[in-house]
Amino acid sequence: MDKTENSEKRALIDKLKAMAISPSCCPELQKATLSYLSAVAFEQVAVKSFLASLNEAVDMSHQTLIEKVKDMAVTPTCCPVLRQAAKTYLSALTAEKNAAKNLLKEIEADISDINHLVAFSHSDRAVEKFGAERAKIFAANADALKASGAKFCNCFACTTAREILAEKNVLLE
């Protein structure tokens, strides 16, 4: 089996798992699906055990563990309490990833580039927000920052936001 076939099979198996644990899956279909997934899982465990015996320590990534939780939840010997705990965890994980995506979108939209900062610092809104004297200092600082070649605002929120965006995969994986 080549790599494309492998990933197609994996995608299909993921669909079967999602279907089998969905509340609207009828018992007959669930039974047949679980039986098939169980056979596939046994085969995978056998292969992995063999590979593990060749190279004892198996460190797993978070993604691999999530796949294992899914595999376990669809085995016929998984008790209902454990299956429910796995389902609850997987739903919470999906919600977390969605919240992370939304958060990153907000952060990306919110970082001020240098032109935006300079324009704001010279605006009436800056005077409203900081008062005339502080707005003058703010505008001078923004001009100096642009002259130094900076591309973004250097306030604490924007600086931290850029550090977070540089590591966004930590939140998404």
Binding site: D71, T77, C78, N98, A99, I107, L171
Partner: protein, 115 residues
């Protein structure tokens, strides 16, 4: 950067006066959802630990003929009992069904799952 450090950065960014309201709100929502996920993962780990069948429990279940027959039928129950005995004789500490095998693998890496 690890996830814990990144979360601390999110909190300090949200607490800064120059962070916008939508960002503050998105951080709040994210942290709340993350807390729910942490509860769910801790619950899953607790249920995993509670539900792994050790070899003596497996032996006991396999010897309870009535119970085993109900699940596996007469022939299946016989095979189940033979397998349990062979597993114990081989020095196994836990049931080797698919769910228990995968559960053990997950528990061996539970700190990764906790993130």
């Amino acid at each position: 950067m690890d996830k814990h450090t990144l979360i601390e950065k999110l909190k300090s960014m949200a607490a800064s006066p120059s962070a916008s309201e939508p960002v503050k709100q998105a951080v709040k929502v994210y942290l709340a959802v993350l807390a729910v996920e942490q509860v769910a993962v801790n619950n899953l780990i607790a249920v995993l630990e509670d539900n792994i069948v050790d070899i003596d429990e497996l032996m006991e279940t396999s010897q309870n003929t009535e119970h085993a027959i109900k699940y596996f039928g007469v022939e299946g129950a016989k095979k189940f009992a033979e397998n349990a005995r062979a597993l114990k004789a081989a020095g196994a500490k836990y049931c080797n069904c698919m769910a228990c095998t995968v559960a053990l693998e997950i528990l061996d890496n539970k700190d990764v799952l906790r993130g």
